[in-house]
């Protein structure tokens, strides 16, 4: 809650900063979501009805109201990636991670989901992991990417 208050005060409890505040808070959650008690705290601090805040966070695709994996792996399903073989990418990732789109791996590291175009059409088919975009994907490349995130996490823990 301390973190929440810090972010809120940095934005001066301004209503118009709701989206920016929520983006920061989601980053801080560690699980890519907005815990309900944080949302309630924001609603109170900004003096906005909770229903309105809830309306905003469920409107934007980047916000989650339930915990996700540490890394969200997004597969673009829009036209440019579709004609460049996005479906294969999805299948490969489903196999690699052992989950279906919309699910989170048992270890809580990856959430696999479909996404609208994120502007990487020149390297389609593309995926996004957190902030990073990867394109021109093959099975080998995908494997390497997933491994690199798993490894990175291991080192971070040491």
């Amino acid at each position: 809650m301390e973190k929440v208050r810090e972010v809120l005060s940095r934005y001066g409890n301004q209503k118009e900063s709701l989206i920016q505040i929520m983006l920061e808070l989601q980053q801080l959650s560690g699980n890519n979501y907005l815990p309900a008690e944080w949302v309630a705290a924001v609603s109170e601090a900004l003096q906005m009805p909770l229903s309105k805040v809830y309306g905003v966070i469920t409107f934007y695709a980047m916000f989650n109201t339930s915990p996700k994996g540490k890394f969200i792996v997004e597969v673009c399903k829009s036209g440019p990636c579709h004609v460049s073989g996005a479906e294969n990418v999805l299948c490969m990732l489903e196999e690699e991670l052992g989950i279906k789109a919309g699910e989170t791996t048992c270890d809580g590291i990856f959430t696999l989901q479909l996404s609208s175009c994120f502007g990487a059409c020149d390297i389609a088919p593309a995926i996004k992991v957190g902030e990073s975009v990867y394109g021109n994907l093959t099975r080998e490349k995908l494997k390497d990417i997933i491994v690199s995130y798993r490894e990175g996490l291991k080192y971070a823990k040491c």
Partner: protein
Amino acid sequence: MQSAKVLSARFGAIKPDSVEEYVAAGGYEGLKKAVGMQPEDIIEEIKKANLFGRGGAAYPTGIKWEQAYAIKKGPKYMVCNADEGEPGTFKDKHILAEDPLELIEGMTIGAFIMGSNEGYIYIRGEYAAIQRTVKSAIENAKKAGYLGENILGTGLDFDIKVISGAGAYVCGENTALVESIEGKTGRPRQKPPYIKNCGLYMMPTILNNVETYSCIPWIVKEGGDSFSSMGTEFSGGTKLMCLSGNVANRGVYEVPFGTTLRELIYDMGGGIPDGRKLKFVHLGGSSGACFPESLLDTAICYNTLKKSGLSLGSGAVLVVDDSHCAVDYAKIVMEFFEEESCGKCTPCREGNQRLVELLERLTTGKGTLDDIERLKSLSQTMKTTSFCGLGQSAPTAVITLLKYFEEEFKAHAAGQCENGKCNMHGKGAE
């Protein structure tokens, strides 16, 4: 062929957020010239430039600015639409990531004209790393005196804030974008009142796309006539085109207006790989029209395209080869809109969902000829009755694919997908 370099001249050549390098490469000359001019004269240059809004609506920028300038109340806000969500579009990303000061300079010239003190760049949430680059460029411009207080000794105070989107295509619609900057859900507002009178916080607002603002410094520096002379009679300057899909060299190309789509796809883009043939081009993003080879010689020019019933939109050119199925593709496009509709008005919220349902029937062997008729009638209703441009243009792909590939739709109703993309569950096999 890729000769014209108005916007992309510095791409890759300078450190994107470095004011020093930007200035060394000819940056800020437009602003320096502008502050010695009368606002009316700058607007006159922009009008002469024949610059049309690059976001998709293609409204003449000079006239927009003239109207905004004439509005007496204030404060006035300068807002940049960097929400680039139209599938197949990634040109603004290049400006933002490789030469953000070009955009910042353009907005500052606008602020000088309008006497605006506050600017906002609304960048889609998916471009998080780029947001940091732009923020850093803004900070550097402030340090160098090109932003902030008393810019270049003119007495103008102008600051720019970067606002992040959070994943909503509809926020590319101007009124929805303004709502989103205000921290609300991005549902479009009823027009009128228009943004220029009642925009951000209900104040006069000058809202342009990244590419549009980025043309301004060049126009001021080199003159409107030089800019317009690069294009056609009806469309001045150059355009960043985004080439994607089944084409050899995908990427962003800066081309002068008048270049044909064939030149772009075959001469610059290297044509269709793997010995395939072109099936159709989807122009202007998912909200644009799909058309076959026969229209490829159309020039990239707002007027010429309009005559062929097309619209340049954001400048996305998605090339689709003949291995793909038109019905399956239509379904993918409609799934995008089903997801991205803001949900405010009935035709868009419900209509996109039903277009997906009808297309799903056709791509799974359950479709009938009646479904095709319904696709047509529902698309028309959506086009004519939706609240905003998103809903009105959402069925464009379906309408145009039906226009050029109706036989393929009918074959699906009979259980046949010639490309083998659709699983007909045995229908039509007998």
